[in-house]
Structure formats: C-alpha cells, structure tokens
Assembly symmetry: C2
Homo-oligomer: 463 residues x 2
Amino acid sequence: MPAGNPIRKRIVIIGGGFAGINAAMGLAKLPVDITLIDRKNHHTFQPLLYQVALAVLSPAEIAQPIRSIVRKYQNIEVLMDQAVGFDLDRRRVELETGALLEYDFLILATGSTHSYFGRDDWAKLAPGLKSIEDATEIRRRVLLAFEFAERQMQEAGTHPPLKFVIIGGGPTGVELAGAISDIARLYMASDFRHINPADAEVLILEGSPNILAAYPPDLRQKAAQQLAGLGVTIRTNAHVSDIQPGYVMIGDERIDSTVTLWAAGVQASPLGKLLGVPLDRRGCVIVDQFLNPPGHPEVYVCGDLAHVEENGIQIPGVAQPAMQMGTYAAKRISRLVARDFGSEGTGVNQPFHYFDKGDMATIGRKAAVANIKWPFHGRWSGFPAWIVWLFIHVFFLIGFRSRLAVFRQWAWTYLTFQDGARLITGSQELPGWDARYGMQDGSPIVHPAPPIEQTAGTAVTGT
Amino acid sequence: MPAGNPIRKRIVIIGGGFAGINAAMGLAKLPVDITLIDRKNHHTFQPLLYQVALAVLSPAEIAQPIRSIVRKYQNIEVLMDQAVGFDLDRRRVELETGALLEYDFLILATGSTHSYFGRDDWAKLAPGLKSIEDATEIRRRVLLAFEFAERQMQEAGTHPPLKFVIIGGGPTGVELAGAISDIARLYMASDFRHINPADAEVLILEGSPNILAAYPPDLRQKAAQQLAGLGVTIRTNAHVSDIQPGYVMIGDERIDSTVTLWAAGVQASPLGKLLGVPLDRRGCVIVDQFLNPPGHPEVYVCGDLAHVEENGIQIPGVAQPAMQMGTYAAKRISRLVARDFGSEGTGVNQPFHYFDKGDMATIGRKAAVANIKWPFHGRWSGFPAWIVWLFIHVFFLIGFRSRLAVFRQWAWTYLTFQDGARLITGSQELPGWDARYGMQDGSPIVHPAPPIEQTAGTAVTGT
C-alpha cells in the first residue's frame, strides 16, 4: 500500500431494494470497496408489482438484475446470498454459506415482509405482494379462476359466482382491487364465450374504519367513490378471523372467496432481530437521526426496516423514504471517508431529514388519489391524479430500457385492451377448487353444452 | 332450426400449438362451432423458446394467450382442460373433469414431449425445452450457476470449472450451446468481479456420428466450425449412460457438469395411444394422406403427433409441417362442410402435401446454417443465414405486438448487451451444488476475500 494513504474502507450493503441500490449508487464513485448482497438476483420496482400480478406488465419490465444496475462500477461486487448473523463488535456479517464478511460500514436494508398476525398457515391461501414470485402467483390464481369458471359453465351450465376478496384496504389493496375490476370488466370482456367476466365481484375487507388510512379524509372518500364506480365493494371494520380454501370468515360470517389476496399487514425483515439492538413492535430497528442503532455509528439501517421518527411521527415504510435513507447513508459515509482523506468533515453531523413529496395510489385504469406535498401542495383525484401517477412511476423506474418498455406496454394495453402478459404458468391447481366439480354423483355430464353465443349473421346452431 | 339448413358441425381441436392454432384459424369463418382445448392458456412460439431459456427474451414475448389469438371469432371457444380419453365410435372426448364432449370432427394436435429413453428420473437433472416453464427453469439453472461460482470465488478464492453439458446435437442442442456460449462470453462479461464468465465450458454430447443429422454434410461441417469458433466442444458417438447431480457418465467415463440440459429425444404426446389406432415406434399416430387414422375420416391427427410419409420419407416433427397440417385439416373439413351445404365438393379428395421450404438453426449471436429449398435452393451459413433466420422467425410470430416487441428486444440486446430478462425466479437450489461448500471441515472462512479488481486510477486496497 503506498504510504500516506488511509486504509480503503469496506462497505457491506445487505438488500438490493430502493434503499440498498440508492446507497450503492451514492457510494460507487468513492475509493471504497462495496459488497451488495441480496437473496435475489434482481431489484424489483415494488410500486408496479400489482401490475405484474394483474397481467398488465411482465416481470422483466419492472425487475432489473442488480448486476446490470451496478455493472459499470468496478468497486461494487454483487453477491447473491443471505446474511444469517452479525457480529457487530468484530464488524462481521455471517453468510448462509458459512463465510464471514468483514466491514467498516454496514448498511442494512432488507425491508419488510408480509405479516399474517401469527397465522402463517394463511400465507398459502391468501398470497401477499412483495416479490416477482408473489406477483406471478397472484396472476396465476386470478387468471385460473376465470378459466375454471368458463370450464365449469361450459361443462355444467352454471358456475358459482367469481369473487375476489382482498384483505386490507391500504394502497396495495386498493390498487389490486381496482386492477382486478379493470381486467374483469374491460380487458377480458371478449375473451370468454360462456361466462361474463364483468360479473366477477371484488371485495375489500379493511379492519379499521377507513381505507387508505394514511390519506386525508376527503381523498379517502374520493377513493371510495371511485372504487364504487368500478363495482368494488368495501367493508370496513371487518376483522378476518379465518381463511380457508374457498372462503373467509369475519367472526361467524362466512364470505365465499374464489381467490383471496393479502394486503393487510407487514412486518420488518427478520434480519433486524439478529443485530441485537432495540426494535419496535413490528420488528423495525430503532435508529437515531443518523440512521444508526444505539452505540453503532458504523451501522446504518435504511428503508422499511428502520424505525425513524421526525417530530414524533414515524416515517412510513414506502419507496420514497427508503430511497432517501439509502442516499443519506451513502452521503454520510462519503463525508466520513473524505474526513479520513483529510477533508474538514463538513456536514458529517447533518441528520437525516425526510423530504415528503406526498403519496398516491391508483384506482383502476384511469383514476387515482394523490396527496401532493411537493413541488406544490394539492389533493388530486380522478384522471389528472392518474396521469401524475403514471409519469412519476415511469420516471423512477430504474433503467432506461425498462422505462421505455413499461411506457410502451402501458400505452399498448390502454389503447388496445390486448395483453401478452396474461400467461398462466406453473401449477394448475387453485385452493378450494375441485377439479372434478362436474361429477358430484360420479356420473359424467354428456354434452351438447350450451351453444356458443353467436354473432348476428352466422348460421344456425344445431346439435 | 330453420328448415333446409344442414346441421351445424361441432369441431373439437385438442392442442393449441402450431397445428391446432392454424386449424382453428382456418375454420373460424365457417358456420361451425369450434372448441379449442389446451392444458395451457397460451400458445408458445417454440422455435424461440431457447432465447427465453438464455434470458434474451421474456416469456410474454413468445407466448400469446390462446383466448387473445382467437378472440374475434365468436364461434371458437377456448377450454383450458385436458383430454383423458376418446370414444371414437360415439365421437366423444372425455375431459379431465369427467365431462364428455361430442364432435363431428376431431383434430388432435398435442405434439410431442421429451423422451428420456425410459430414464424418467433424468428429467429433474437435465431439463428439456418444450414449454415456458422449461425455459424459465433452464434460465434459472444457468444463471444460478454463474452466481454460485461468483459466491464461491468470493468466499473461498476458487471455484470448480463451470461446465454446461448439452445432451443432443440436433437444432435445439446446437442453439442452446451457441446461446450459452454467447451469454458467457459477451453478455455477462462485465457483470462479475471474481469469476470470468468466458471461462465457462460448453459441451455437446451427441450419440450419433454427426450433429445436425438432418442437414447436408457441408452445412453440418460449417455448423461444427462455427460452434468451435464460439468455444463449444462437440463429442459425437457419445452415449450417455447415466446422469447424476453434478456429472454425466459416458460408459465408464465421468464428465463433470454444472448444468446438464436435455435436447436428445422426443416422443409423441401420450394422447395418441388413447385413440386405439396404430402408432409408430415413437408413439406417433400413423395417418393416411388425408391425415386420418385408418377407418376414421372424421379424425385428423396433425403436427408432431402425426406419422405422415411422403415418397417413403417421414415428414419431420417441426413447426412448418405442423402449420401446414393444421391448415390442411381445416381446408379439408371446410370442403366437406361446404359439400353438406350443397357445393360440389371440389378438392375434397386432395391429399396433404408437405411444402418443404428448408431448415435452419442459429449458432450464437451472428451465425446460422440454413438449408433453403424455397423460394430458391441454397445452403447458407454464417451471418447471412442468421439474418434470414431472424426475419423468418419474427415474421412467423403470432401477434403483431409480439413481433414488434421481439424485434425491439433483439435489437436492444444485440446492440447494448443489456438485458432485463436475466431474472432468477423460484427456488435457489441447483442439483449437485452444496450451498455450504465453504465449510468442508466445519470451520467458517474469514475474510478479507480477494480484493475486487480495480480499474486504473482508483485508490489503494487495504485490509
């Protein structure tokens, strides 16, 4: 090592979500060595996951391999691995493979996961929406439900109502509900011959008195109106007591459900626990104004995993603060490193500040609610809010190609109702759906089935 | 039913591949009722599957929901179901759900599946390439192999050679080999910090004396040269006697293999057997010049499932003849129906004739071999053949959007080496790969790991 140079710092970043990627990008040009670890090989643009779940976009359009994102920075290495333990005193991360990775700075940003409130058996019956795998699983179930109903109708002449029950009325629940209503009413309208997809019911079950609890009351009400316009039913103060194949219980009341989706609760990634520092009730790591847990100025916790308060209010676990925390951690570390290299260390003591630009949620194909706080204050709803939502989301997508591809795909789907992403892959089972529904008494049903609906002018129908 | 009109015929088509879709489209404008049955909800453009397997294209770019393809024809209904039996005398198909579907004409086009020559236990160790699920599974394994090698290198300082073994040297094997070599040498070149992806070995094991046995000898030789140029090793007369996690046996010789792929044998879909008519050795239904099995002029067998001979030579099981058979069956049925409606029945006795336009296979990113028979005779190889291959394949993709999307994606990938389709989804296990390779003696490896390779001008590396 040439004399007079400070030691090159090793920075380990765990988690390739918004916080981790922004931290890595913010550190990339420093004379440091960065190891970015994620269990997956791709960064997922979570705000658009529901569009993959509802077959509007393809996985590759909203997920980017992490290696591609950081490819041009030779000092960033990407490791597809899992952390399984921390030794904060010796500054080491233990990986699943048994290896120990040393660091000078650790950035932990492993986000959050679904919380089934202790009922982990519900996970299979009501998938949530956190990963590409979750999204394609939801897509599979929703599309299969229509296929099975058509099959049943064709073979038995009748089918039980198609009912999509979404547990949780936050932004994800609202977006899923709007999107399901859209595909049922619009995109699938001419795909089936026996069922009418528009007859599908969509129900949101929300435990609290309001959907979109984080939004101002007038926007909540607008959202409820817009959802009603799409035929979505909302039940508030509805506490789900059980989930079974084919139905959901609210107390003693049974609600039939063809496909049940979970958008109700999240909890912090279990890695927070392994740090051995104080956590909040949901498992988030309580950090100070520099995003450090107590006594560990070399450890930064960012994104959904961090419990950060400003003026006594906890910063929400959404994309914006995650990006800002990642960027902040990178900036603070870069100042500390610069100080090692002889700079004055200006700004080293500047705390994290969340710059809240507002929130928005889409409601179907052409409406949204937006509570905008920057660059102006305003509450928007309906089509203008949707347009704003569209441009902001395309703008923040990582990767120029993805941005173009998503925009093109949206325009195409919007204008034509055509959709190549509507693929069912994997298993052809649906919990609670008996594949042999046509044979209650063991005797097969013999056709002729109900005749295919004819357009005017075509010839007669016979046996 | 108005008097004087003949009875409206019911046509059941089983299989939504090239033959089935072409048959349905050919019949769509007739006064008939068509039921198109497939286990999957999508038609797959099989000639491009290997590009999904090697992460160049996304599944949605080469698969189209069958409902979308036939959406505008009100007399076609699509059923996502499986046939499990036939009653040819009573003209009925039994479906998995137990229902019986009556028909006047049956078109059976369920294609072929992998044949592991009685060793079905090999299927998990060496996936073949027939479906979107197969393609994403191969993609997962190939990409994971590089990830694991990088991890191992980063943690242990060494990794066993990456070796991709492809069993079978037909067009699929050659295309897979060329594409793996490409992504290793070109597309992944700057993605990793510790391994050099270009060091990966690609090996084709072919049981017969030649790869591409169906091609003229000079083209075979050109193909072998082009593969050698890509660093692909070819072993002919190599009979695989066993496949195990991590290796393949040829007689007593053990060949290490990180990822083994199967491109060796196909057999007819098992549905052929259920017809109760004569089959050939591979399970294909032996049909006459009208594509009918003996004694059943109302049953048409098309595509890979059909054994059709012309001048004593069997027509190969590839896309072109499948499309032509589907179209032929539709045309013949339409003539029979027209005769019922009072036409003279011209052409009813015209037999099927395969119009062979030639064959082609790509070899990596810019070479191919093409044995063209129409619109001119010619044997092409190298870049010109690749350009011809490209346009023909884009042209035959079903769906205007897919054509554009694939073309754009190719152009983008070709020019930039960027690729958003390189996603690993699903399990993170690889057969034969021990996740805890770093702990042979139980003691974890402690870093510092080998330093990240530095670009010139960045600062020194320390602890």
